[in-house]
């Protein structure tokens, strides 16, 4: 198993390198660029363009730009003031040494920018997944063992709706209902806040305030996943409970509960775990609507803005981190699979 994981990790590194070349080319070759129109200016003065090109390192050929992005320029002479004379070694270290460069927009190190946002996205996503799973599992089980009951049929209907409703629409409706329309009967304030992670006027950590701010974003984010996972678990459970070993277990005289949890659910969960590991990147990807609607200071918003403004270093960093997380979650799925199902062995 260790050899297998090692081999997969080495493959991952190779794949990431290939991806980084591809992404760098795609990002840089897309029409438009960071120097065409900036904020309020439709155009940037040609003198300013020249200065910015030099400061951003965009005055060099694309392969050189990639090389600097990858391994830095502290080993090569650079012309910092644009007079054609070399002024000494550069200061960039390159991503292989943990230097993702600086944001064109804020001139802050990219890792600082991401570091401020990533924990917030993880925080929201993990809670969303937890809620989705905790709600989806019982729903899936009940619909499986009470197949074609009123509960199952209403859950099926709900599932189709849940998967069909777009997040941005659902979020807006929830804000309208719980923020704009419904009021707290005691204070007259809106029932739930419109967004943000905490109330600005709350000092320190306030669990209640945190939870109140989580309700709408988590609901918006989790609904589609609840629908998806409960449907999945239902069919997975239905497969399992018609297996021979379940009949055998029942024949042994085990209680219904014991049969369902020990023999049924455990086997039905295996494909769900794989699915979950593979879905992780999508969960982060879906955060863009939730983060935008609920003013959640997360990374998806940072990425969206960087894409709009062609902030190449931020864009590249998020893309590479995203690519790495997709590849690693695939690996994780494979490993989890082997761990949960003793019959699977990687040699």
């Amino acid at each position: 198993m260790t050899t297998y994981i090692l081999r997969r990790l080495i493959q991952t590194a190779g794949l990431l390198f290939f991806l980084s070349v591809l992404l760098f080319a795609l990002v840089n070759l897309a029409p438009g660029g960071p120097l065409s129109g900036q904020g309020q200016s439709r155009h940037i003065d040609p003198d300013k363009v020249e200065l910015l090109k030099r400061q951003f390192g965009l005055d060099k050929p694309l392969p050189t730009q990639y090389l600097i992005w990858l391994v830095g320029n502290d080993w090569m002479q650079v012309d910092r003031d644009g007079d054609g004379v070399m002024d000494g070694y550069g200061t960039r270290l390159g991503i292989l040494r943990g230097d993702f460069g600086f944001s064109f927009r804020t001139r802050q190190p990219v890792l600082t920018e991401i570091g401020q946002r990533l924990p917030n996205t993880i925080y929201l996503t993990v809670i969303t997944i937890l809620v989705a799973i905790l709600v989806a599992i019982p729903i899936g089980i009940i619909s499986a063992i009470r197949q074609y009951s009123a509960f199952d049929i209403s859950v099926t209907t709900f599932s189709f709706a849940g998967q069909a409703i777009p997040e941005f629409w659902l979020g807006l409706i929830l804000i309208l209902v719980f923020y704009a329309w419904l009021k707290n009967p005691f204070t007259g304030d809106p029932l739930l806040p419109s967004g943000g992670m905490t109330s600005i006027d709350v000092s320190g950590f306030d669990l209640g305030d945190r939870i109140v701010h989580l309700i709408l974003p988590v609901l918006t984010g989790a609904l589609g996943w609840i629908a998806w996972y409960s449907r999945f678990l239902r069919s997975s459970m239905l497969d399992v409970i018609h297996q021979d070993y379940i009949r055998t277990a029942r024949a042994k005289g085990l209680s219904n509960w014991s049969v369902l949890t020990k023999h049924g659910l455990r086997n039905a969960l295996i494909p769900l775990v794989t699915l979950l590991a593979l879905d992780l990147p999508y969960l982060f990807g879906g955060a863009i609507f939730v983060e935008t609607l609920f003013a959640w200071p997360g990374m998806a918003r940072l990425y969206y803005q960087a894409a709009l403004e062609r902030d190449y270093p931020v864009l590249m960093a998020v893309l590479i981190i995203g690519a790495a997380s997709i590849i690693l979650s695939n690996l994780l799925a494979d490993i989890l699979y082997a761990w949960l199902d003793p019959r699977i062995r990687y040699e």
């Binding site: 129109g37 439709r42 040609p46 804020t106 419109s194 905490t198």
Partner: protein, 567 residues
């Protein structure tokens, strides 16, 4: 079963760790809001407090709360001193012009009662430090007119002289306005560079407010600067700037009373807010953004109007016909909900307002012009062809691309469609294209549509910042600006008389300038390289309890935040 629950425990511990790490940013939340605080909502974090770096508008918005320049511009376009004790002019001896060399010297006297928030006085050293940081060839920035400056010399603790190599008409607001401020020499670390230094994100204030907290992506908190030089100001104790990306959420917060100011209100939003008792909308007395149609006078895909003139648009009568066929009033009423004001010349803002009669909407005259120019629909397909026209081969079909950019939003796209429809009725077939602004405006080396000459007609909005149109006019209409990537004259228009007048407006003689600008307006009116159509609204929505808010086309709405009060 045992093995499974062991794993669950590991997973649970990991998740808890992740959750706790996510809880970090909230740990340093601010103390409870004072009752006399207000909330401003904006869609994205300002990149910094230094608008020169990224010019997003949000940087200027927060900059105006904490930093001062030498001067600023009010909503009517009048320049007023901030750090300066008075504005230097030729009359008061502050500006001396050397007629022989064509150079000028401007002497500024500063107020002596302004302090940085740490108690250090704001002096001429700070101005010189700021100038030197800007012109640093390695890590500096670029501000309009910086190349005109030879040197800045200190003449006293509170006075200094700027030596210009030639006449620079924008000198009054060069170190002021919505973009440029004076930075503290003793606080900013010059080695980090003007564009990237930490003091650009943790500024030391000399303005009405002090930044006390910035939670990235969430909010910024400003409290009253106790050392602010204007007696008794500001009256509002605390300003919170919240980052709310979604437009409708910002609007709802304003209606609900959770926000006091939502900057840059669009026409549909103003219309929606009209009946709200708790909300007011402040409109700027002047408007900056003129929606305009640009003509490519060179053939699509080329940049030389002489060697390869545009087969349709190089004929003035066609441009005149297009203008006569555009119904600006209907566009204003239908798509801009009545808030767009007709504008038909570049010179609509004080002090350079030129008296050019408004063109009439007259589709019949337009059709007659096209007939006269030799464009007729002889095959009855509804599209005209060249039948005796002077600019294209016989039989050339009157069909062109019509671009606009997507970010402006629905009103502009509807306007584009409506104009295409109107011109379609006239027998001109326009293929609509909507692209990202950054692709439309990019340099020709980056595949920019305009700079490469890959367009026929396009429509979008532009206008000049501040009160001096000289550079703006130069960038759009000068011959030198027609060279791809050297300016924005992607119409590739030139006119000798105009070029000569343009050389003459670089003077401090205001009477002369006004005359010359209006002569230029007359030439543009005759030749129509650009069709100015109407101004988009410049407005900000605010709560009714917030007083003295004045939207301004010359600056961000926070330009007079020190004067705001709460009812």
């Amino acid at each position: 079963m045992k093995r499974f629950s062991g794993k669950s425990l590991v997973v649970l511990v990991l998740l808890t760790a992740v959750l706790l790490s996510g809880c970090q940013p909230g740990a340093d939340a601010t103390p409870a809001a004072e009752s006399s605080g207000i909330v401003i909502v904006i869609p994205e974090d300002p990149p910094s407090f230094n608008p020169i770096v990224a010019d997003t508008g949000y940087d200027s918005l927060v900059m105006e709360l904490v930093m001062l320049g030498l001067s600023d511009i009010d909503a009517n376009g009048t320049v007023f001193p901030e750090l300066a004790a008075e504005l230097p002019t030729v009359e008061n001896g502050g500006v001396v012009v050397d007629e022989d060399t064509g150079s000028m010297t401007v002497t500024w006297k500063m107020r002596e009662d302004v302090q940085w928030a740490d108690g250090t006085p704001v002096t001429a050293d700070d101005v010189i430090f700021t100038y030197e940081s800007i012109v640093d060839p390695e890590m500096g920035g670029w501000i309009p007119g910086i190349d005109y400056i030879d040197s800045v010399e200190k003449t006293g603790d509170y006075s200094f002289t700027i030596n210009y190599a030639s006449i620079y008409t924008g000198y009054l607001t060069q170190f002021g306005g919505e973009q440029v401020v004076i930075w503290p020499a003793h606080y900013c670390d010059a080695s980090q560079g003007f564009a990237a230094w930490d003091c650009g994100r943790q500024p030391l204030s000399n303005g009405p407010y002090v930044l006390t907290e910035w939670v990235n992506g969430d909010h910024m908190t400003f409290t009253k600067n106790e050392k602010y030089f204007e007696e008794g100001k500001p009256s509002i104790e605390k300003i919170t700037v919240r980052i709310i990306p979604d437009t409708s959420v910002r609007k709802t917060m304003l209606i609900n009373g959770d926000a006091d100011l939502n900057m840059w209100a669009t026409e549909p939003m103003i219309a929606e807010l009209e009946g709200e008792p708790n909300v007011k909308v402040s409109q700027s007395p002047e408007n900056r953004w003129v929606v305009r149609v640009f003509f490519n006078l060179a053939a699509n895909g080329t940049t030389d109007p002489v060697a390869t003139p545009h087969p349709i648009l190089s004929d003035l009568r066609v441009r005149q016909a297009i203008r006569a066929a555009i119904d600006v009033d209907t566009i204003s009423k239908e798509f801009f909900l009545g808030y767009a004001k007709p504008a038909w010349t570049e010179f609509i803002r004080e002090p350079y307002v030129c008296d050019i009669p408004r063109p009439e909407f007259d589709p019949e005259a337009a059709a007659a012009l096209l007939d006269e120019a030799g464009w007729k629909d002889t095959d009855g397909d509804g599209v005209r062809e060249c039948r005796g026209c002077e600019t294209a081969e016989e039989g050339y079909v009157m069909e062109m691309d019509f671009h606009t950019y997507a970010e402006f939003g629905e009103p502009l796209e509807l306007t584009q469609q409506y104009i295409a429809e109107q011109l379609g009725k006239l027998g001109m077939k326009l293929n609509l294209k909507v692209v990202e602004g950054s692709i439309l405006w990019a340099a020709s080396t980056d595949g920019g549509i305009e700079q490469s000459g890959n367009f026929d007609i396009d429509i979008w909005d532009d206008g000049y910042a501040g009160v001096d149109p000289t550079d703006f006019i130069y960038q759009y209409y000068a011959v030198a600006s027609a060279e791809p990537d050297f300016g924005y004259n992607f119409m590739r228009w030139s006119n000798d008389e105009f070029e000569e007048l343009l050389g003459g407006v670089y003077t401090l003689d205001e009477t002369q300038r006004k005359q010359d600008f209006c002569k230029m307006a007359a030439i543009l009116e005759e030749e129509l390289p650009i069709l100015p159509l109407f101004t988009a609204v410049n407005a900000d929505a605010h709560s009714a309890r917030l007083q003295n808010v004045q939207s301004s086309a010359n600056d961000l709405v926070t330009w007079n935040a020190a004067d705001w009060t709460l009812k």
